[in-house]
Amino acid sequence: MTTTATINKADLMPPPVAEIMQTRSMFIGLIGAVASVAGAFLAPESFYSAYLTVFMVALSLSLGCMSILMLYHLVGGAWGTVSRRTLEAGMMTLPLMAALFIPIAVNLPRLYEWARPDELAKNTKLADIAHSYLNPSGIASRAVLYFVLWFAMAFLLNKWSTEQDNVDAIGRSTLRFRALSGPGLVIYSLTFSFAIIDWVMSMQARWISTIYGLIFIAGAALSTYCFVVLVETILGQRKPMSQYLRSTEVHDHGNFMLAFVMVWAYFNFSQWLIMWSGNLPEEIIWFLRRLHGGWGVIAMGLVLFHFAVPFALLLSQRLKKQTTTLVWIASLLLFMRLVEIFWHIEPAQSLHHDTFHISWTLFAALFGIGGLWMAYFFRNLRARPLLAVYAPQTLRLLEPSHE
């Protein structure tokens, strides 16, 4: 404990580049927000599905940060000690995500067939589903429940983490982090799965896949590690991160990326194999829409660039050990996350024009939501030191292990 007194909180504050990133993100975000509002009025038929696509990408990242943080509190490891403030800043964007959900909640008929009275009148099966589960009041009350639970867990983990910046945190038990994270991961998996059913899977309301939520959970975890590597690339060359980020931790992040690339592929392939083997009309309809009319090229792109290429590259230790090379794989995967969610959502919308198409509103939403999310993230990150200063794990990290 002799080194304790020498830790200086000010030395661990994020470098000025974080503020520059925040300003630039805000600038891009505001331009994107204006373009999105224009899109909502000028091209409403394409805007809302584009908005939902980007919303799901950003929400996956916020919740992915929360779930990986919980994982860290349960299993520990230096990989998490160096990235927990990134994860905490990421999950504390949840209030923004709750606010961004409002445009979806008030425009349900534009996105979901079960919210359109004329569709329900034509289709009694759909009307049954809508009557019992998929209806606006159900969606709204469940959405409130999800966001309240998510934010409550994120808020507590973040608050306790802030308390570890004070010197009186030394010697205090960290058991409460674990006590929340264990049940928290269960709550997260269930609520996120239900949210995915409500907001994405229900776009084709009669199609059911029990592994669907897990595909998004694996994708969220993958996005998170890619994002962590991205942040390390921005901050890692400068103090204070350059002083404690070693290649062993970057290597760990690369290994997690490899693991979740495989988990993602495993879940997707399981769904494909079962539906392909069963060959039942009500199941294969989902794939038929996503493999024909130009969408098949996207599907093949996902197999290659969301799985095969990053998988092969991530086998190499050399590429995984430094952010300068790993960041390219991380960027590719983050881009493919957007492509994947686009491929999930957009074909469900194209009942009347079912060939591949992409609208400028997707880019408006991407810059709008993406810019605001990043600005909020960097604002959260700048508020505190880059390590939880007096957490026992931090003290261990800053003391050389062989002394």
Partner: protein
């Protein structure tokens, strides 16, 4: 090899240190001085020691990759041979070459051969189990699994010279220097 070394073969010179930090510094200096055939022993993993003695990468990952690919290919080709060539069966009108249903066995065999080759390859490459090793001829070495840290310069090193190497090691201020009989 000279006649004397045949009669009394020497495995190398061993220097003993009290702390991991001393061992790390000594290893770095020895490697820096041009001795490449060296090894270090400590009771617990010392961070950076592998780099200090110039040990960068082993070939286990390559062995696993090769056997993983062999496993995957053999799994796929076996199923292809059975379902397409040897005993074609019409299952629900699906093509004989139904690749999606082949993937699971392909994957499992990749993992199986990769896993076995990792264990066997590791043992083959590090030479374990090893009933005899010359370093145990030095009585002090018993404490390598307790609280002492050792550096060995092998006599196979091109720069090795009994007198000059001993002089060099003395400059690193070890507790003792011992000649290791082969």
């Amino acid at each position: 090899m000279s006649a004397t070394s045949l009669e009394n073969p020497i495995y190398g010179l061993m220097a003993e240190f009290d702390t991991p930090q001393e061992l790390l510094t000594a290893a770095e200096k020895t490697h820096g001085a041009g001795y490449k055939q060296i090894d270090a022993f400590s009771p617990f993993p010392v961070e950076g020691l592998a780099d200090a003695i110039g040990f960068h990468k082993n070939s286990v990952s390559l062995v696993v990759l090769i056997f993983g690919i062999i496993g995957g290919l053999s799994g796929y080709l076996l199923q292809y041979y059975v379902s397409v060539i040897s005993y074609p069966t019409n299952i629900g009108g699906r093509p004989y070459h139904s690749w999606p249903s082949f993937i699971i066995v392909t994957f499992e065999l990749t993992i199986l051969l990769g896993g076995i080759s990792a264990a066997v390859g590791m043992l083959a490459l590090n030479g374990l189990p090893m009933p005899y090793h010359p370093v145990f001829n030095v009585p002090e070495f018993a404490r390598a699994s307790d609280d002492k840290f050792f550096l060995v310069v092998f006599s196979t090193d091109p720069n090795y010279d009994a007198a000059r190497t001993r002089e060099f090691l003395r400059g690193l201020a070890p507790r003792t220097i011992s000649e290791v009989p082969a």
